[in-house]
Structure formats: structure tokens, C-alpha cells
Symmetry: C2
Subunit: 434 residues, 2 copies
């Protein structure tokens, strides 16, 4: 961290050990860049909230203040507003989940549910299994509690069960404590990939037989474009899954309302951790959402969001085919993201300043790995810009990538003359054997 | 924790060590009891939000949605909405604080600022110095990060500087790492006591010369009844104080908006910790508060709250004089609480069920100590019930206390016949010498 080595910080020696793990994410710096209006940002995962009719929110707001103002303005319970928890059951039922209202804990966005789960489970040195690649701010949270993240291989059908088995065996043999498997099984952030139904069952079976808890993070599941995705993992397994949901993508993130559905004993601890952290989530925003879900056609609104994001996904896939036909990318059936693979020798992070100069932004692949992988990957978010801007953004990106390719070609031709790198055809042992 | 010993919890062995420190607070159980309408609750510290005109909030809400709906519904920055941070400077200026808008971090209530400060500073075994007694949920937070709380003596002028010096010397001699001094210097929760101006300077000097950070938690400072309290400690010392503020008491807790004002380098880490925990505080509630502070007579509204709480404080003090003239209590010049001292042999916690049976609730003194002290103390909150109910509550309480006294008198007369307790006049060494 920049400041920790700074002698101007009088309290430098006072921080907790875990604070060293609180580095600024690569996405964070990008938010500032991306906010300039001339930049087409394919970086941030901001939902297109303008597709939400303002009067739906205003109407709910007014009814809450008229009918229950003093309750909405007061502290609430650490578990969350009971009526909203009933509504949350209705939302989860759309993904095949049956649960008790008692086992839902409302949190300040599902991000806070992630933080609370990490707080109650992770001691320094514990291991979290996660997809390769994984949601960046989940990695930040796990690191902030001094856990190690072990990335399990994925392909176009999501987590590879055989890889999961191998990682578990290797970690157990090394005496590591695996606390849970963190996964975004549906329309993954950042890859857009969905774990198939057969693999869901297999992953759950592997977790069960190894006594590993599954942390199923599902912000995008209802935003499918074609056929609905497989049912949630929590719909199969009750006692071994903590499920995280949110209203940030199906309604609006500005309310900061999400939830955890957890096995009974874990739920008790989540409530206590939630109370310690914030006393109670906002009564005001919980009640507005509850009122919205009671009165508005919220399923129709989710259909509207699906249509908006489907059109943008289509625009991005078409532009990629038109402008970058030689590269490969994932084809998401929902959610916000496409995962683009660059040529092996390209580094998306070092290329970013040039991209921003060309007025397009993305998130470098390394942000989504705890181990430095993902150098030649990038996440492209199609959720926020309009289809025309997406197309223009991909066009700009293609000039940056093509320019980078020319530069690398030139460099690789001249490099042997100016540097002492080994010729490419010399066989060197892999890093773990050297 | 009840569930940790429960064999029904399949994940019993998986929790982090810190989770053992996440016990339900004594206040928590009381919220359920106190919610029954026939009980006069002097337990919870709920602000009387009905004194806030509904149209002030509704007007701000409507303007925010009309003028900047898409911003209010979107993610914001981890540091908080810039315009609100400017408003927060105006609020803090009322207590003599001058600061830069860059050093304010908006949080999900000031409770979350407490959690974030604890997260970035506390390793297991670290020591937090705190008043005796101290705010219950601060103790819960410190314990949840496996810190030890060392209570410093207080009297009617707040923290006793000589005791603070002694505690620091003793802890340092024992090789303990003191991370900060936590204090509610103005209208303390739970005691209602205010640290005098002279002592503020002395406490700051002791902290400075011992390189101990001061965590000044000030939810009640603007709610004074008579003369304004001494200026905030942060007004004197910039580099050694983290100041916490909130809109929960001067506006409404349902929004969950508070803040930390911190030295530059610490502020950077608080922002990172805030982003990891919640991505950003609610844009929606931040903007409503900002709009309220721009358009409404918020200082006049604070005057209204002062009048409401002054009347209730007066009702409580009069009722105590009338019904419990033999006991002693603090006389707060602001805030929400009176701290009542019972006869030495009385236990407020074991008496509570009888009080609830008599339809009055309070918070037992032990809740406010990390070390089991406070057995014959109780916190009486005058913030929420009307003056008539306060008087009736104290009347009911007096019958409970008087009944308990009779019981104890009977018991102490018969005790020597049935138990083997030592006679009261035998001199025994104090606990720390035995």
C-alpha cells in the first residue's frame, strides 16, 4: 500500500496485520477514469438504472413515508425487515430455492454479506477456493481477512470438477484449512460463464464429501437472455450452502440492499456480525424495496432489464466479431460481462493507459486473480453504455489491440538485438521446478 | 454463544477464532421485550423520530428523485458523496472542528465507522482503552476483533486523567500493545457524563505523549439541554484523533449514514476497508440527507430535538427524586441517558425479569463493561417515551427496586443461618492483591 511506507503516517506502526491486505483494487482506479464523459467505459459493472421508471421508486417512497414514516426512519432489527425477508423468498423461488424467512439476513448490499461471511469464517492462513477468474472485490475481502485464495480451473461450463478435486486433495495433503468454495455459478463476474446443471450437482457432491461449505454468490441469475439458467445450487443443497442475493442488479444498487440465506447456526452468527457492524441495515431503503415489490410489476421490470442487457450483449458480440475477429471471447447468456482473451504475449494491464488515451476503458484480467494470472485477459462490461457506444468502444479497443500487436511484433523482431533474453525455442524448466 | 456448543451445527469447527467473541449483547435481547406496547422501555436508545416533520424528509426525497434519480440509484464512491461531505463539515463546525472535505469518510451509520477502525487497527491481543462504563456495541466490535478492553476510571467530569496514566503505564510495563483510547466524551453512552474542557486537554496530552490514538465518538454532542458542551477533542488535535459522527440522532437512524474524520493516511485505509465491506455507502440515503441539509432548517430541527429530550430528561430526574430519593444518578446536560446506581448488594441484571413483569425495562450496567463490573448500575434512556410514560416507568421501577431491597434485607438477615458467606465486616484483600 502506498501509504504504509510513508513516513508522514504517524500511525504507520499501529495498523493491524490484515490492513496490509487492503490494497486498492484495479477496478477502483478505473472508476475515476471511466467517469470522464468522452471515455467509453467497458470497465465498471454499473447497472443501467435509467431503465427503471422513476415513478415506480417515487411511488414506493411516498407510500412508505405516508404509511410508516416513523418505522422507516428508526433503527430496525439486525436480521432485516420481516416483510422484506418474505419478499426475498419470492425472489429466490424464481431460481428454485425454498427456504424459511428465518434464515434470511438482510445486508448492506450482498457485498456486506460477503464481508460478514469472511469475518465469521476466516482466520489468517485459511484457504478459500475460488473460480479462476473470480469477482475482484471478493478477493479483496478474503485477503483483508488474511486468507489465501486458491483458484480452481474453469472452462465454458464453469468450474472443472476434476480440478476442484485435485485442489482439495493437494491443499488437504499440505495441511491447509479450506473454509469454503466461493463461486458465482451463473453468468460469472468476470467471465460471463455459467456452471452447467450436471456440474452443479457434481461440485455440490465434492463439497459435501469433503465437508467444504459452498458460498454461492448470485447477483445476475435473473438477468438471463435466452433460456433460464440452471437452478441455484442452494435449491439442491440446504445445509452446505450460503447463498448471497442482491437487489442491486434487478432494482438499483443505490439502496445497498442484499441478503444472505444461510444454514440456521451460521445465520445466527451472521446476524450478530451484522449488528456489530451496522446495528441494522437501513430500515428506510428496506421498506422502500418491500413496498416496490408489493405494488409494482417487478417481474415485468426484470424482463425490461433483460431486454436492455440482451441488446447490449448482442451489440458487443457483433462488434467483437467485426473488429477483433482473430481473438476469442466468452458468449454469456446473461449478466453483464464478456471475457476477452488477447494473444499470449499481450499484457492488458500495461496496455490500459494507451486504451484510455484512445478513450476506451476495460478491466485488466489480473484484477480477477489472487495469483497474478490473467495478464492477457480483460473483462468487458456491456451493462452500462448504449449499443452504439459499445460498438464504438470495441472499435477503439481494436485499434489499441492492433497497435499493441504491431508494437510487439516490432519489439520481438528487434529484441534479440538489444536485450539478453533467451531465444524462444530454448527449453527451460517450468517455474515450479526451477 | 449458544449455537457454538450445539452439535446440530455442522460447521461448528469452521468458524474463525474471532467468532467466539460475537456474543449477543444484553441490549439485543431487550429490544424484543421492549417492543411490547404495555412495557415502558427505558432500555433502547431509539431517537424520537416522530419529532421530525415527515414533509421535510418527503420533500428532500422527491427533489432527489426528480433532479438526480439515476445518480441516487447508482453505486457511489467508497468515500461518500462529495456534497454530503461538505455538509458534514458544516455540522462539525458547530463543535469547533475545522477539517478538509478530503478527510471525511461516509459510513453506514457511525457504527460501521467503529467497525472499520477496529478492522484496520486491531490484531488479536491488542488493547483498547475505554471509559468505565462504555458504549455496549463498541465493546462488542472490539471483542469481535479479539482485542482486550481496559476500562479507565471515570467520575462526574468524565475520564480521570490520573487513572488513564496509570493504566497506560501498567499496560506498557506488561508489554501490551495499546491501539487507541475509545471515548464518548460528550453526554456519554451510558453514563450521560461529559468530559470537562480541562480534562480534554489533559487526556489529549497524555495520549500524545504516549503515542496513543484517540477515537472520539460523538453522536450526542449537538443535543445539549443547557449550555453547549466543551468543543470536540478533534477541534484541538488533528493528527491524533479519529472523530466519529452520525445523522442518527440529529436526523434519523433509518438512513444509516454516519462518518469518520481521520488523519490523512488513516482515512485512505478507511476508504479501502469501506469499499471492501460495502462497495459504497447508499447513494440514495446520502443524497436525501444532503438535500435535506441544503433546503431545510436543520439547525432549527436540532433545536426541536433538544427541547423534546430536555423535557424528557427533566421528567426522568424529577421522577427519580420523587420515587427513588435514596439512590444516586448522573445528571446529563444532553444526550439520551441517565446512569443509576443501586445499593451495593443489588444486581440489576438478575432483577430485570422482575422489572419486565412490572412492565418496565432498562439496560443492566454489566452490558457496558467488558470485565463484569456494573452489577449495581443501570442505564435509563429518556429519549423515546413521552414524559408521562417516563414518570410511570420510574414509578414501576421504584416498586421493583424497593421490592428487591426488602427481599435482600430478608435474605441478608437469614443468610448467615443458611449459607457460609463471610460477615460483611471482615477485611479481605482487594481482588488484584489476592
Amino acid at each position: 500500500m502506498t501509504d504504509q511506507g510513508n513516513n508522514l503516517d504517524r500511525w504507520y506502526g499501529s495498523y493491524a496485520e490484515r490492513t496490509a491486505g487492503l490494497a486498492a483494487s484495479e477496478v477502483r482506479a478505473l472508476f475515476a477514469v471511466a467517469s470522464r464523459p468522452e471515455v467509453v467505459s467497458l470497465a465498471g459493472g454499473m447497472p443501467f438504472v435509467s431503465a427503471l421508471p422513476r415513478e415506480l421508486v417515487s411511488g414506493a417512497m411516498d407510500r412508505v413515508m405516508q404509511e410508516s414514516g416513523p418505522v422507516a426512519l428508526q433503527y430496525g432489527s439486525g436480521q432485516g425487515f420481516p416483510r422484506l425477508r418474505e419478499h426475498i423468498l419470492e425472489v429466490m423461488a424464481l431460481e428454485g430455492i425454498r427456504a424459511s424467512v428465518d434464515d434470511v439476513v438482510v445486508t448492506t448490499g450482498s457485498q456486506h454479506a460477503l464481508e460478514l461471511v469472511a469475518k465469521i469464517f476466516l482466520d489468517p492462513g485459511d484457504v478459500v477456493l475460488a473460480e479462476a477468474p473470480s469477482y475482484v472485490t471478493a478477493l479483496v475481502v478474503f485477503k483483508s481477512f488474511q486468507a489465501e485464495v486458491d483458484h480452481v480451473e474453469t472452462d465454458d461450463l464453469g468450474l472443472v470438477p476434476e480440478s476442484l478435486r485435485e485442489h482439495i486433495a493437494r491443499l488437504k495433503a499440505a495441511g491447509k484449512r479450506i473454509k469454503f468454495l466461493y463461486t458465482v455459478p451463473t453468468f460469472s463476474n468476470p467471465s460471463g460463464v455459467t456452471l452447467s446443471w450436471e456440474r452443479r450437482l457434481e461440485v455440490l457432491e465434492i463439497a459435501r464429501s469433503n465437508d467444504i461449505l459452498v458460498l454461492e454468490d448470485n447477483p445476475y441469475g435473473l438477468l438471463y437472455f435466452d433460456a433460464p439458467p440452471p437452478r441455484a445450487m442452494r435449491s439442491v443443497e440446504e445445509d452446505g450452502v450460503i447463498y448471497l442475493g442482491t437487489f442491486s442488479k434487478t432494482l438499483a444498487p443505490g439502496f445497498r440492499v442484499g441478503w444472505a440465506l444461510a444454514p440456521h447456526a451460521i445465520r445466527e452468527k451472521l446476524i450478530l456480525a451484522n449488528e456489530a457492524a451496522v446495528l441494522s441495515p437501513s430500515s428506510f431503503t428496506q421498506m422502500i424495496i418491500s413496498e416496490y415489490l408489493s405494488g409494482a410489476d417487478w417481474k415485468g421490470q426484470i424482463d425490461t432489464f433483460r431486454g436492455v442487457y440482451r441488446e447490449r450483449r448482442d451489440a458487443m458480440l457483433l462488434a467483437l466479431s467485426d473488429y477483433l475477429p482473430d481473438l476469442s471471447w466468452t458468449v454469456p447468456n446473461g449478466g453483464f460481462y464478456v471475457w476477452l482473451t488477447l494473444p499470449d504475449n499481450m499484457d492488458s494491464k500495461s496496455m490500459l493507459p494507451r486504451a484510455v488515451k484512445e478513450l476506451v476503458a476495460y478491466t485488466p484480467g489480473t484484477a480477477f486473480y489472487a495469483n497474478g494470472d490473467g495478464r492477457n485477459k480483460m473483462r468487458l462490461a456491456f451493462c452500462y453504455p448504449t449499443p452504439d457506444f459499445i460498438r464504438e468502444g470495441i472499435r477503439r479497443l481494436s485499434t489499441v489491440i492492433n497497435g499493441e500487436q504491431e508494437l510487439l511484433n516490432t519489439f520481438s523482431q528487434t529484441a534479440p538485438l538489444t536485450t539478453l533474453t533467451a531465444p524462444h525455442n530454448v527449453i527451460v524448466p517450468p517455474a515450479n521446478l526451477s
